[in-house]
């Protein structure tokens, strides 16, 4: 598949270089065959991961905003 200017970005898994961790987690953690039974020890942890990831993503955004705010303050003082 090819790219088309600035409006489409195609990420091929063959090289893997451009695939983000979020993409991998989106697909790998989203589902897959579930074979139920007492032998399966842990499947429930997946939802905890989502909570953790969302917290981290929110933290990144908050951190970016704080940096922007600090820069705005410095510029204002200049």
């Amino acid at each position: 598949m090819s790219s088309n200017g600035e409006s489409i970005t195609t990420l091929s898994l063959e090289g893997e270089d451009d695939i983000s961790l979020l993409d991998i987690l989106d697909h790998v953690l989203n589902s897959g065959v579930i074979i139920h039974g007492s032998i399966v020890i842990s499947l429930a942890g997946v939802d905890l991961v989502y909570v953790g990831l969302n917290v981290i993503l929110t933290s990144v955004e908050t951190a970016l905003r704080n940096i922007n705010r600090e820069q705005a303050g410095l510029n204002h003082r200049d």
Partner: protein, 243 residues
């Protein structure tokens, strides 16, 4: 203990050797005969993959490494055999228990194999292209107002109602797909994300997917960006058949 990566149909020749690293970075990926199918596993420690799995799953560094290893094994398998990816973190105590569970679900597995045969999963994301800050935020806005509006621009837009053009885009892709699935939660917080989802596309229809993406990318130039990743193993299209 056995960590399960995927279940595949029996190849006509000998099962392929899998070169990708095992989930723990130490073991070897091997095939176990389970009824009519092959279960692809590696031996792992009970401590790491059962007793402490919940804690490990919250450690992003561990999760990133394990998630990538899981994907590499399943990805390698998918290029060689018709494969049903197992859910991340599925472990069994013994070969006998795994074989018994696979045999018990023979009919459901067969239906899942029929569904994903000759098809790949493609991940699609639509992003709004942010307007230049100078135009989006009025120059005369005060400091607090400026930051508030700038923050608004950074928010993910997944909660908003989709506009007609994006709805039409989703409909067009759904028509040429075997099935569609909502996107995973990991990407949901990405700034500017308008919509994301996965499509199961027959390999013979890949050109149609490319044409549809190119058509919308052209008409959305400067306003929206489409990210397409794939081909993925059919992670999002095997679960409901085998529960």
């Amino acid at each position: 203990m056995l960590y399960l990566y995927a279940i595949s149909q029996m190849p006509k020749a000998a099962p392929p050797n899998i070169a990708s690293e095992a989930i723990d970075g130490a073991g070897r990926v091997e095939a176990l005969l389970c009824g009519d199918y092959l279960c692809w596993v590696s031996r792992v420690s009970k401590n790491e993959f059962a007793d402490q799995l919940n804690e490990r799953m919250q450690d992003l560094e561990w999760l990133a490494t394990a998630g990538l290893r899981h994907q590499r094994v399943v990805g390698e398998l998918s290029t060689r055999l018709v494969t049903l990816p197992a859910r991340f973190g599925t472990v069994f105590l013994s070969e006998e228990s795994l074989a018994q569970h696979a045999k018990d679900r023979k009919r459901a597995l067969r239906a899942a194999f029929e569904r994903v045969a000759d098809a790949d999963e493609w991940g699609i994301k639509v992003f709004a292209i942010a307007k230049p800050m100078a135009r989006a935020v009025a120059k005369d806005a005060g400091g607090a107002d400026y930051l508030k509006r700038k923050a608004e621009l950074l928010k993910p837009r997944t909660g908003k109602k989709l506009d007609t053009e994006v709805q039409n885009f989703i409909t067009a892709l759904t028509k040429l797909a075997v099935a569609a699935s909502p996107g995973g939660k990991a990407s949901a917080g990405q700034p500017g994300l308008v919509w994301h989802g996965s499509f199961l596309i027959r390999r013979k229809d890949r050109k149609k997917l490319e044409s549809a993406l190119a058509k919308y990318a052209t008409s959305w130039k400067g306003t929206r960006r489409i990210d397409c990743s794939g081909p993925w193993p059919p992670y999002s299209f095997v679960g409901e058949h085998v529960q």
